[in-house]
Amino acid sequence: MSTLHLLSHSPFGDDRLNSCLRLLSPGDGLLLCGEAVQALRPGSQPRRQLDALPDDIALHALDEDLLARGLTEQLPARLQRLDYPAFVACSLAFDKVNSWL
């Protein structure tokens, strides 16, 4: 069964993203929202980790969180930016959603 991992904590000074990345299976997805979108900062270690993800891991981010933080340039080409209807659709595209609270 495929899992969409939902992250909202900053990757800096927190090990949720690191732990999550180790537990991804082919066909899983990552959805970054809240402070987790900071992981997309160009030039950062978390960004390098995300860029190194295999093609069979889908990468998504909640668009309002990118806009709020001025993270609109130099985003990964593979990143799918989601509004809320797309967020709902995304949650149904995977067999389950695992939130990293």
């Binding site: 939902l6 909202s8 900053s10 809240g34 209807p85 709902v88 149904l92 389950k96 959603v97 609270l101």
Partner: protein, 131 residues
């Protein structure tokens, strides 16, 4: 499709607003919410004593309107609520006449069994919390 939505953060947390916008999109997309479950600090949403500054978005009030308008089943975990001083009239009396802060009728104080039941009934369990 049926969704069970659980919230673990208080109204001031960005994840509360995010959960609400997600819930709105669920219904707008023609899906069903079988239950909203409020756990840990999210029990604060049920407190009528919350005061939101005039220049801030009152997410707690928006949640109440959303629940009322859509007649959603919204359960607050009773153990988490008691621990955090979020009591309805019944619990307030049961615990030696403490103040009751849960006033709106749509909040049901109940147990974690309600979370499990919702998860069993739903096609998706989605939890929100943190920032």
């Amino acid at each position: 499709m049926k969704f069970a939505i659980a919230l673990f953060a208080p109204p001031q947390a960005p994840s509360s607003r995010r959960a609400l916008r997600f819930a709105e999109a669920v219904l707008a997309g023609g899906h069903e919410i079988v239950r909203l479950f409020f756990y840990q600090d999210a029990v604060q949403h049920a407190s009528a004593a919350l005061v939101c500054a005039q220049d801030e978005t009152d997410i707690a009030a928006q949640w109440i309107r959303f629940i009322q308008d859509n007649q959603l089943d919204s359960v607050v975990c009773i153990a988490a609520a008691l621990r955090r001083g979020v009591l309805d009239a019944g619990e307030a009396q049961r615990h030696g006449g403490r103040p009751a802060v849960v006033e709106q009728p749509q909040w049901a104080l109940s147990g974690l069994g309600q979370l499990h039941e919702a998860a069993q009934l739903a096609d998706r369990l989605i939890c929100f919390g943190g920032p």
